[in-house]
């Protein structure tokens, strides 16, 4: 059975990009969320193997979402999707339990490298 992924990003374009990269590599994108609040709800409902999490989003930002998801499931595996210059926030996310990060603009191999490392 292929591993399941939840993609969180407020931009539909970014979601589509990650989705394409992941599905091509054989992962199953089970859901998408466009803000942190939705992400927490979807995670709770679907318990995906992996979450890709944007940082700046409306409603609830990615860092808060990481904290809430980690509170629900301490084994959750989250990869942060960050832009350049967000190091402080990424550090905070990792401190809160995120496993790794990828930097926009995404390169296929970088995304897959990070995902593989985490999902084994």
């Amino acid at each position: 059975m292929s591993k399941t992924v939840l993609i969180v990003d407020d931009a539909a374009f970014m979601r589509m990009m990650i989705k394409n990269i992941l599905t091509e590599a054989g992962y199953e994108v089970v859901a998408e969320a466009e803000n942190g609040k939705q992400a927490v709800e979807k995670y709770n409902e679907l318990r995906p193997d992996l979450v890709t999490m944007d940082i700046t989003m409306p409603e609830m930002d990615g860092i808060t979402a990481v904290k809430e998801i980690m509170a629900i499931d301490s084994n959750a595996k989250i990869i942060m999707c960050s832009a350049m210059g967000q190091q402080a926030m990424v550090i905070e996310a990792i401190q809160s339990g995120a496993k790794d990060f990828i930097v926009k603009p995404f390169k296929n191999e970088r995304v897959l490298e990070a995902v593989k490392k985490i999902l084994g």
Partner: protein, 665 residues
């Protein structure tokens, strides 16, 4: 600027002197580690100071010196005569630079030649006995070293990890953080270079070093670290106990110095103007704890009291002996000089507080859209340290008031035909035994009637009082608690809590504040303060049978008068002094003592006192004499006693109260 410069120069000279001495000693005892450490520390401190002040040549030179000393300290370099020679040349050049800075404010001499020579030593003499930790510039504190040794005893391993990230990797700070985080999961990170904070702030080049304690094997560490994306590799070096023993330990004292330097740098750097070329004369100085000066002052005061007692006894015994008189006179002179010198020592230039005002005035006038040119005069005027410290807040208040209320906006000023840029003057000067500080603005001035009406509104005075008041009295209403002339309360000033606090503070320093103002022309606040709080000249008087002291600074003159010179004018007792009518006040009444019947006395003494712009005659029973008194506080419980500001001990050992006559009018 000059206040830091002076301290910098003083300290630099001290360090250079100790460097010279220690280096001489070191030449004779080349293996004295303590000496080497001391020399290293002095060079290190000099470097930090010079860099902070922006004296790059000094900083450069001391930096190179420090490098050489560090090698010697780590026993990588044998101290030979040639090296000592170069170090001495180095010190001479540093001294020259310090002198140049002292006279011209600039570093004139070049240092390149010596820097090169120092660098050459460093290069040709690298010995084989390296300490791994030293090579990697880990400056371990003794506690850290102890900590590592403890772990080693418990069966842990200590490693030096050199982690390299893939060049050009994105968000390397986060990668660095992830490496350290995963290391922390299986061991203890003692220290990293650069520091953890610098790594998080991305202040490193794709490479960092970690001093690490763990029970895991090298293989395990390597796997943990390289499992993280973008880690290119890690070099792992085992650190043994011997490596640690050879490690030179940087003492806690040095760490503290480093910390203070950093603080100075962040706080003061923007203010430092490194290209002042005015002539600065600097005489050699030492720095002393202010507490020591306080106790010295106390001792001088005790001496003074006892000198006065001795004189008193001789007088009372009617003892006239030429030799004794001679000694007494000598003693008198010596104590006076001693007192004077101690007072001088306690003096600091008022620029200590004036220095912070230009920035404040700039910010405030910007905020209020006013154009203000602050002119500071007499910043070199010296005042007792204890007075200076309490003076900052009142002056801030006055300057704020001037900008907020006094000075008009540029538009109004133009309409009134005044220059658009207002002039705000802050001056200090010494007048005899007093220091005069003025805050002068050329703004709208104070309107006595407006203030008076406000006073009525605020319930401070009645309509009847208003009619009787002089302009000056009306203006003085602004010192009353609960008064505010501003129609709108602004954030800056004008809550009606300002000026009364200013007045109280100034008076608590035994000083006096008054106002000169002219509508449309401007306002001047005059603050007069005693030079020092501890010892002052006073007139001793008798009121009934008790002795009181009146500070000489407020006394205009004193005169014995016959009761018939006292006249009644509008229900007020007055007397004529050279054509001037001076209102009289009975000191007995102030103090709750029985007032003598005018018909029963044939002579009274009047002490004419200046309070603000007014003169008041204070009637006392008898004038005694004038002498130096040592002011002692009445202590917390009695501090608010009306008309009494303190006490002093007289020659006969009796205590006399000091009259507070500022508010008797």
């Amino acid at each position: 600027m000059s206040q830091y410069l002076r301290m910098f120069l003083d300290e630099s000279e001290e360090y250079l002197q100790s460097l010279n001495q220690n280096l001489l000693e070191l030449e004779n005892n080349p293996n004295d580690e303590q000496l080497i450490n001391e020399i290293f520390r002095a060079a290190h401190s000099l470097k930090g100071m010079a860099a902070t002040m922006g004296f790059d040549k000094m900083a450069n030179l001391t930096h190179e010196m420090e490098n050489v000393l560090d090698r010697i300290r780590a026993k990588k370099l044998v101290l030979k005569t040639e090296i000592v020679d170069i170090l001495f040349i180095c010190l001479d050049r540093l001294e020259k630079l310090v002198k140049e800075i002292a006279t011209s404010g600039n570093e004139a001499s070049d240092v390149e030649d010596i820097v090169l020579r120092l660098q050459n030593i460093k290069n040709e003499e690298t010995s084989s006995k390296n300490s791994i930790i030293d090579d990697n510039f880990f400056d371990l504190e003794s506690e850290e070293k102890d900590q590592i040794l403890q772990y080693l005893k418990k069966g842990y391993f200590c490693y030096l990890l050199d982690v390299e990230l893939v060049e050009g990797c994105l968000l390397k700070s986060v990668r660095g953080f992830m490496v350290i985080k995963s290391l922390k999961e299986i061991g203890i990170v003692i220290k990293s270079i650069p520091s953890l904070k610098d790594i998080e702030d991305e202040k490193f080049d794709y490479q960092f070093k970690v001093l690490y304690i763990t029970k895991e094997s090298e293989k395990e560490i390597r796997e943990t670290v390289t499992d993280i994306i973008d880690v290119k590799g890690v070099t792992i070096t085992r650190i043994t106990e011997e490596d640690l023993e050879g490690q030179s330990v940087i003492s806690t004292a040095e760490m503290e110095i480093a910390v203070t330097e950093e603080k100075i740098e962040t706080e003061e750097t923007p203010q430092i103007d490194r290209k002042t070329s005015q002539d600065i004369k600097v005489s050699p100085t030492i720095r002393v704890d202010i507490d020591k000066l306080d106790s010295l002052m106390n001792l001088v005061a005790e001496l003074l009291i006892n000198k006065t007692r001795l004189e008193e006894i001789c007088n009372r015994m009617n003892f006239s002996n030429e030799l004794l008189n001679d000694i007494l006179q000598q003693l008198d002179r010596v104590t006076m000089n001693l007192q004077h010198t101690v007072m001088q020592v306690r003096m600091v230039p008022i620029e200590r507080i004036f220095n912070r005002f230009p920035r404040m005035v700039r910010d405030l006038s910007k905020e209020l859209n006013k154009k203000v040119n602050l002119i500071i005069e007499g910043a070199e005027t010296e005042l007792d340290r204890s007075i200076i410290d309490s003076l900052g807040d009142p002056l801030v208040h006055l300057l704020r008031n001037a900008i907020d209320h006094g000075i008009e906006d540029p538009e109004t000023r133009r309409r009134l035909g005044k220059p658009e840029i207002a002039e705000l003057r802050l001056t200090a000067s010494q007048k005899g035994n007093e220091i005069l500080i003025q805050v002068i603005d050329d703004g709208r001035g104070l309107d006595p009637d407006k203030i008076g009406r406000k006073g009525i509104e605020r319930g401070l005075i009645t309509k009847e009082e208003f009619d009787k008041m002089s302009d000056q009295e009306k203006i003085n209403l602004i010192f009353r608690p609960g008064f505010s002339t501003s129609d709108t309360i602004s954030d800056i000033s004008g809550r009606g809590v300002g000026l009364d606090v200013v007045k109280r503070t100034v008076e608590s320093l035994d000083g006096h504040i008054d106002i000169d103002t002219e509508i449309g022309k401007g306002t001047t606040f005059n603050i007069s303060l005693p030079l020092t709080l501890a010892i002052t000249q006073a007139l001793l008087v008798k009121i009934c049978d008790e002795t009181y002291a009146i500070p000489l600074s407020v006394i205009v003159e004193a005169e014995d008068i016959t009761p018939d010179r006292i006249q009644m004018v509008q229900g007020q007792e007055v007397f004529l002094l050279r054509g001037h009518m001076i209102p009289l006040v009975w000191s007995h009444k102030l103090l709750g003592l029985p007032v003598p019947d005018l018909n029963e006395v044939d002579q009274l003494s009047v002490v004419v006192i200046r309070t603000g712009k007014k003169y008041v005659g204070l009637i006392v029973t008898e004038l005694i004499n004038q002498q130096d008194i040592v002011i002692k506080s009445l202590g917390e419980f009695l501090i608010n006693t009306p008309h009494i500001s303190g006490a002093t001990i007289l020659g006969d050992g009796e205590v006399a109260l000091i009259l507070d006559v500022r508010n008797i009018a």
